[in-house]
């Protein structure tokens, strides 16, 4: 597993709420994602998928085990990450384009040049809006956009500072099926042109198989990685591929593993 861009090695994490014992979210979780690779994490709900993203981004610290990004232990928020969540989390007092510019006001080296280079940065944001199909909506406020549009803007925000790593926590979970499939294509395009390392947490097995190079399957809580699948399909992938026999087989295999993990948890 050495030489991996993102590495979790035998990680434990307990959420403490007040003075009780706390919830053991992860126990002995290990995974490795190569640089520029697109990884997906699937598993039963509540298995600690999102926790893994929080560990990788440095929002949480592990109780035990190693968490490394780019061969360095994670000891606080990693600045090279872009994040998008299931909830678009747009700041409601800023227009869509100002929301997308937020990372540039925080992350160096953009931060110190923000005032001089604002026009250039706005141009960059406009270009991103165009790629995700949001051209013309730059000056709208978040509540004036549909859920899908907000999620597109949220993707732009995750990408604006050209992060080496993209952490996506069920970003399409709240969208209707058609919008979701549109956004899969957009995300694949963006990934193919920029090649960031991506970790996508999702409930949707088709989504995982369409987008990822490698899929990690997690057990029920306390979560650990119980299987990893290489996804062999060539890129760019199309929606038609998702109906091919091989693809469907992969999804059945994933589904079986997850339902086994759930039954095991129920039996225990």
């Amino acid at each position: 597993m050495s030489g991996r861009f993102v590495l979790l090695d035998a990680v434990d994490l307990t959420y403490r709420a007040g003075e009780d014992e706390g919830t053991l979210a992860l126990e002995g979780a290990s995974l490795g994602v190569g640089r520029g690779e697109f990884a997906a994490i699937v598993g039963p709900s509540g298995c600690g998928k999102s926790t893994i993203l929080k560990l990788v981004s440095g929002l949480l610290a592990a109780n035990r085990g190693r968490v490394e990004v780019a061969a360095r232990p994670v000891a606080g928020p990693v600045k090279m990450a872009g994040m998008a969540f299931q909830n678009p989390t747009m700041l409601p007092w800023l227009s869509a384009i100002d929301n997308v510019l937020v990372p540039l006001k925080i992350v160096q080296p953009y931060r110190s040049q923000f005032k001089q280079k604002r026009a250039e940065y706005e141009e960059r944001a406009r270009a991103l809006f165009k790629t995700v199909g949001l051209a013309g909506f730059e000056k709208r406020f978040p509540w004036q956009l549909s859920g899908g549009m907000q999620q597109r803007a949220s993707l732009c925000r995750a990408l604006i500072h050209e992060p080496e790593m993209l952490l996506l926590d069920e970003p399409f979970g709240a969208l209707d099926a058609f919008t979701r499939e549109d956004l899969w294509a957009t995300l694949q395009e963006l990934w193919m042109s920029r090649r960031p390392t991506v970790i996508l947490v999702t409930h949707d097995l088709r989504e995982a198989a369409y987008l990822a190079d490698r899929i990690f399957v997690m057990s029920a809580r306390p979560g650990r990685v119980i299987a990893a699948h290489e996804v062999p399909f060539p890129r760019p992938r199309t929606l038609d591929m998702t109906f091919s026999g091989e693809f469907v087989e992969l999804i059945h295999a994933l589904r079986r593993e997850i339902s086994d993990a759930r039954e095991e948890a129920l039996a225990a």
């Binding site: 981004s57 440095g58 929002l59 606080g76 928020p77 990693v78 600045k79 990450a81 994040m83 969540f85 909830n87 989390t89 700041l91 409601p92 007092w93 227009s95 937020v102 990372p103 006001k105 925080i106 992350v107 000056k139 406020f141 509540w143 004036q144 925000r157 500072h161 952490l167």
Partner: protein, 257 residues
């Protein structure tokens, strides 16, 4: 549609004028003596004929209130930020604040007079003190209820606590601050007038206390009218500012920066 909105807008005026008409009619009908309840027409007459004498007192009260209000909002915002952004400060300071706020402000004025003498200073301080509490509570609530997801967006980028406070916490609590300003400005008048009636030789509160000892009841009521008018005017000013500054919280389509 347009006509209806015009009718809507004139509704509060109709209510106010209607109240005065009923008041006038009832007083005349039952022959209520002037020293119990003067006629609205008498009160307006006082306002018009003696405006030159009333004006300096009005500006005195207005200035005192505005200075106290501005001071109270600044102090209240700072305490609110401290309390809202730290659980520890919240738990440590809240009981003291509630206790402090429960003290009737009239009881504080004599102490202030003892320290600063009578006049403008105790009035400013009274109105300042009375404004603080609603501002503190609202700003602290705004900060404390900020969605952690919004903060995560910045935290994941390596933003400092200060960045998060300025980037998310403070803008998020602006609607709460503005809501509290409308309450605080009316309370500030209460503070000023309390102090002016107890220990001052200028201001509307002072005018009213002297008029009442002279049993010049129309003048007392004229003082009340001036206070009510200033209260409404400043409330409206802050309501307007609120909709301009924090239209996003009310989802106004015409809102833009």
């Amino acid at each position: 549609m347009r006509r209806r909105s015009l009718a809507r807008r004139s509704l509060p005026w109709a209510v106010i004028i209607g109240m005065f008409l009923v008041w006038e009619a009832l007083c005349r009908l039952f022959n209520v003596p002037e020293f119990v309840l003067p006629l609205p027409s008498q009160i307006f007459e006082v306002l018009i004929t003696r405006w030159e004498a009333l004006l300096p007192h009005t500006t005195q009260t207005l200035m005192t209130t505005v200075i106290g209000f501005v001071g109270g909002v600044i102090v209240g915002t700072l305490i609110g930020i401290a309390i809202g952004s730290s659980r520890l400060v919240y738990e440590a300071m809240y009981p003291l604040l509630v206790g402090f706020y429960s003290i009737p402000k009239v009881a504080v004025v004599p102490i202030l007079v003892l320290w600063f003498g009578s006049g403008t200073v105790p009035a400013v301080i009274t109105s300042l003190v009375i404004c603080i509490f609603p501002v503190v509570v609202n700003v602290a609530t705004g900060l404390a209820t900020t969605e952690p997801e919004l903060e995560d967006v910045l935290r994941a980028l390596g933003a400092s606590k200060r960045d998060i406070l300025w980037g998310v916490g403070i803008p998020r609590s602006m609607p709460y601050l503005f809501a509290s300003l409308k309450i605080a400005i009316t309370l500030a008048f209460v503070g000023t007038v309390i102090s002016e009636t107890v220990a001052a030789n200028r201001g509307i509160g002072n005018v009213m206390i002297i008029a009442s000892s002279n049993i010049d009841v129309p003048l007392v009521f004229a003082g009340l009218f001036i206070l009510a008018f200033m209260g409404i005017a400043l409330y409206a000013l802050f309501a307007l500012l609120e909709s301009r500054m924090t239209g996003w919280a009310m989802r106004k389509t015409e809102f833009s920066m």
